[in-house]
């Protein structure tokens, strides 16, 4: 293997300076649970590794009506955070299902999203919160982008070579609402999702009709996506079997399914409507019980 510089950084200024200097020759490594493999296997060519896991100021969760999660917050801390469990349950559930606890203790939310893997579990839950990602660079300071715009394609984001993601911003959740994440996998742990469905549901005052529903699906296309057609169909409606079926059809229409080692395309197409209906009924039950 060729020579590779390695810098373990502890401040943002230092990191941004190195990013500016190395440009696209640098690879950021947070927990390294994906990045180390990508570099060692030659899939990513890194002339310099910038290890950012120690930037303590970007690890942690602050509540502000909504929530701000530092990009270096690890999965275990997200899964166990009582406020995240109460307000953004889908995110806590997804984080608690990314590998074993040993992986979750070092894998970060920033790495999960910036890796932009089609099967990244946190993306769908973040999409249903209308989350934004904040990035910093030395040349241009900070900018905040909607996650939908940040994720360009599989393994491709809108991050410029000199930028580091620093935080995720989750707006306050609408009142009378609940969210959930359903991960379809063959074992109950240690699997990437075959299908993932994140859903946030808000009901109107009557508690009968849907005020707003946000649906994001993973494993049904090249990248996780918001099923906006289905969302529109359900807005203002009572969630009757018929309405749910129509929404389900709209999600399927939007999806492309593939065969891979984990499951067949036809299995994915069969399981997605069930996962969606289940997510909807779980959210209704949570709201009714609250």
């Amino acid at each position: 293997m060729a020579h590779m510089d390695f810098h373990s950084l502890t401040s943002l200024d230092e990191t941004l300076e190195k990013l500016a200097a190395y440009g696209s020759d640098a690879t950021l490594v947070a927990g390294g649970t994906s990045a180390r493999y990508l570099i060692m296997s030659g899939q990513v060519e890194a002339k310099a590794v910038l290890h950012i896991e120690r930037l303590a100021e970007f690890a942690g969760i602050t509540l502000n009506g909504g929530a701000r999660l530092g990009a270096l917050t690890n999965m275990r801390d997200i899964a166990e955070d009582t406020a995240i469990i109460a307000r953004f349950a889908s995110l806590a559930t997804a984080a608690g299902k990314c590998g074993g606890w040993q992986t979750q203790s070092i894998a970060t939310i920033g790495g999960n999203v910036c890796g932009a893997s089609p099967s990244a579990d946190l993306i769908a839950p973040l999409l249903v919160q209308d989350a934004e990602i904040e990035l910093h660079s030395q040349a241009r300071g900070s900018r905040t982008v909607a996650l939908t715009d940040f994720l360009v394609a599989a393994y491709k984001t809108d991050r410029a070579a000199d930028e580091m993601a620093t935080a995720f911003h989750l707006p306050a959740q609408p009142g009378e609402s609940a969210d959930t994440y359903i991960k379809i996998q063959r074992r109950s742990a240690m699997e990437r999702p075959i299908i993932g469905v994140a859903l946030r549901l808000a009901l109107d005052e009557s508690g009968e009709n849907i005020r707003e529903v946000r649906i994001a699906v993973c494993g049904a296309g090249p990248m996780p996506f918001r099923a906006s057609e289905a969302e529109t169909l359900l807005a203002g409606q009572a969630p009757t079997d018929e309405a749910v079926r129509a929404a389900s059809d709209a999600i399927i229409k939007r999806s492309t399914f593939r065969d891979d080692a984990r499951a067949s395309a036809s299995y994915r197409a069969a399981v997605l409507p069930r996962a969606f209906a289940h997510a909807l009924s779980l959210c209704r039950a949570t709201i009714a019980g609250a």
Partner: protein, 159 residues
Amino acid sequence: MQTPHPVTATINGREETFEVIGLESLMDALRNRLHLSGTKEGCREGECGACTVLLDGKPINACIFIARAAEGREIETIEGLQDDLSSRIKQAIVETSGVQCGYCTPGIVVMLSGLLRRVEAPNEALIREALSGNICRCTGYAQIVDAVLDVVEQKAAAS
């Protein structure tokens, strides 16, 4: 050619300096450079938990952790876990026949020490969840879970 690079970290309470190359894993450094072979090598990809060590008190997969990222930090391996709680976990695993070939055992003891230091009295569901990243091909886990429940019970009786 990659030049070796020194790393200094506290390993089992002692400051150690060792040389590593490139993105060498903490597991390889522990086993091959510090000769701490209690940390086992299973899958080398974070799936089996045989290589579990504590980093600043948290269980991690040493096989996917970059050794150079351990600079200045505190690592505990199975060799260092001699405290009362860890000893009770080991004893309970022996008593419940939670060991067969033993390959997974160091990783499981490290994982459980990390869990029980942090959570006073985990229930069975939490114990199983905490162990989901530790693969045991022999025992089927039931005896290992029983061992932890025994330790929890002993702790409750003693207090």
